[in-house]
């Protein structure tokens, strides 16, 4: 049975958020189907993070079309864009960009409360359950600045999963993590995939950690996006 295409990039030129005039990746053609696990490798400043942001609908491309769940984001209304983005999870690199003025629990609860219009009490159950899964329940009332970057990254993952998502983007999530943290992340993502057909797209500068779990690989280099096999010099 052919799985549905969730993400499709057609002839896309990717630009950085801070400089929209000069594309850093050209002619990207790429599609992600339901349940696939992609790992993209790119050196720092190669454009892999910008590609992820473009694919997630955060960064409009300079050229080409980005379709998420069949919706062309360039021509979608505000309501459509919001509906599509609610089903997309994104974990940023280096600490996950948590809101510094909200506690850990409030950070995780924010998307849930905002989209479901819940009171804090009504979201508490799900937030506690999520925090317990990551072993963070005792940090619930702390500000993110009191946590280590590795812990912040976990909170960012929980925040991205607070609402049901169909595709999850992870921007270099393992950078600078200890072996124990890397193990935790891989274990968590395996469980996640076992429980639901969520698609995963990971950017990294090192394929080796992901080799056993990923079923699709690609490289981002020299301004191009290239799919590559699992055995091609990884």
């Amino acid at each position: 049975m052919t799985r549905a295409v969730q993400l499709e990039l057609v002839d896309v030129d990717v630009v950085r958020e801070e400089d929209r005039e000069r594309p850093i990746l050209h002619d990207v053609n790429w599609s992600v189907r339901e349940g696939e696990w992609w790992t993209l490798r790119g050196a720092p400043s190669s454009g892999s993070s910008s590609l992820l942001a473009t694919a997630a609908g955060l960064n409009p491309p300079a050229r080409g079309a980005v379709r998420l769940f069949g919706h062309d984001l360039a021509h979608a209304s505000d309501a459509e864009q919001t509906a599509v983005r609610r089903e997309v999870g994104f974990v940023f690199e280096r600490g996950g960009r948590l809101l510094g003025r909200l506690s850990v629990a409030d950070n995780v609860a924010l998307p849930l409360r905002y989209h479901e219009n819940l009171q804090a009490d009504e979201a508490r159950g799900r937030v506690e359950m999520l925090l317990a899964r990551a072993g963070l329940e005792r940090f619930a009332d702390l500000l993110p600045s009191r946590l280590s970057p590795a812990m912040q990254q976990r909170v960012a993952l929980l925040r991205a999963l607070a609402n049901p998502v169909r595709i999850l983007f992870l921007d270099d999530p393992l950078r600078g993590l200890s072996a124990a943290d890397v193990h935790w992340w891989l274990h968590f993502l395996r469980e996640l995939r076992a429980a639901s057909p969520v698609s995963l797209v990971v950017s990294t500068y090192d394929f080796s950690v992901w080799r056993d779990d990923t079923n699709h690989f690609a490289r981002v280099e020299d301004g191009r996006f290239r799919e590559t096999g699992a055995g091609d010099g990884l």
Binding site: A4, E17, E18, R20, E21, A56, L58, P60, P61, A62, R63, L68, F69, G70, H71, L73, A74, H75, A76, S77, D78, A79, E80, Q81, T82, A83, V84, R85, E87, V88, F90, F92, G96, R97, L98, L99, G100, R101, L110, P111, R113, Y114, H115, N117, L118, Q119, M129, L130, R133, R159, A160, L161, P164, V165, R166, E191, L192, A195, S196, V198
Partner: protein, 337 residues
């Protein structure tokens, strides 16, 4: 893990609804098409950010003038003045577009996520209103003393004490009260907004909100607009009351033959129903404008940490200019009315 992620069934959102308010406004402003001609749908304030980049790249470049020496001497200054005028016009257009988008979001999404967003409005009122109350009362008392102190001696000299109330209404209620309060709120809450939002922008937190499908205009700007509008209105009311009260106390201490009944009677006679209407309009507008200018400078231009101080300065200057211009418009209205 089934309870962690529970993918929604179906293929996503329903069919295409009509374009949203942000899309419409940006379409009108011609900001939804890139140079390559491909339509894009950036977040509204990010479209303005793009313009900010272009505006900053606009640099003064001296032109070679071969005409008479006087023209040659003034040409660079004219160029500089022209460049600044163009930049100011671009900035004005960007701030106006930002304000329109903010008003559009407020009109269409006021009740969306109200359990999350409405508490933020109250938080703004606490921060920009309640915390500023002692300072505003102090300024009100000082203002009352100064105005009565100056005018009483003058009016007594010409035997016109019966105009003390009229002077208080003209100076404090119509002009100085709203303006002084607006400047205090701008200095305290406006600058705080720029720093807070600028830091969020520089740290990527605003982008994180977008990734969570949370509109920064709705979550960050709307509560500030409403909170500051209500705060300026409330603070001005307290400032006026404090100034009127302290004015009478000062007059009493100066042995001015002015009974409370006569003083407040003069105030009552000087006040017109239009004063209350314009007082409310003006103070709400001051608060909203301070919020728009400060949020624009915190969110719209591409910010790095080192640029936050400059953005704050710019917001204060533009906020003061905007408030004075609005005041001038209202003054003209008073004069014609």
């Amino acid at each position: 893990m089934a309870d962690v992620v529970n993918p929604a069934p179906g293929s996503g959102p329903p069919g295409r609804p009509p374009p949203g308010i942000g899309q419409t406004i940006l379409g009108v402003l011609g900001k939804s098409v890139t140079r390559s001609g491909v339509p894009t749908r950036p977040a509204p304030w990010r479209a303005l950010a793009g313009d900010g980049v272009r505006a900053r790249r606009f640099r003064y470049a001296p032109t070679i003038v071969t005409s008479p020496s006087a023209s040659r001497a003034f040409a660079p200054y004219l160029d500089l003045a022209g460049a600044r005028a163009v930049r100011s016009a671009q900035r004005l257009r960007d701030v106006a577009a930002f304000a329109l988008i903010a008003v559009g979001v407020m009109a269409t999404r006021f009740r969306v996520a109200r359990n999350v967003v409405h508490p933020l409005i109250f938080a703004q009122i606490r921060q920009a209103g309640l915390r500023l109350l002692p300072m505003t009362l102090f300024l009100g008392i000082a203002l009352g003393l100064l105005i009565i102190g100056q005018t009483v001696s003058l009016l007594t000299r010409v035997g016109a004490q019966q105009f003390v109330g009229t002077v208080m209404v003209s100076v404090v209620v119509r002009e100085l009260g709203p303006l002084v309060t607006a400047i205090v709120v701008l200095a305290r809450a406006g600058t705080s907004n720029v720093v807070e939002l600028g830091t969020m922008r520089a740290l990527g937190e605003v982008r994180a909100l977008e990734a969570l499908a949370i509109d920064p205009m709705h979550y960050l700007v709307m509560p500030r607009m409403l909170g500051l509008a209500i705060s300026v209105f409330a603070l001005t009311t307290y400032l006026v009351i404090a100034a009127i009260g302290s004015g009478w106390v000062f007059a009493f201490l100066q042995d001015v033959p002015l009974r409370p009944a006569a003083y407040f009677g003069q105030l009552g006679d000087a006040l017109h129903w239009l004063d209350f209407l314009l007082f409310g309009l003006k103070t709400f507008l001051f608060g909203a404008v301070i919020a728009v200018v400060s949020c624009f400078h915190g969110l719209a231009p591409p910010l790095r940490f080192e640029a936050i101080a400059t953005a704050t300065e710019r917001a204060v200057v533009e906020g003061v200019i905007a408030c004075v211009l609005i005041d001038a418009i209202f003054l003209t209205g008073y004069l014609y009315a």
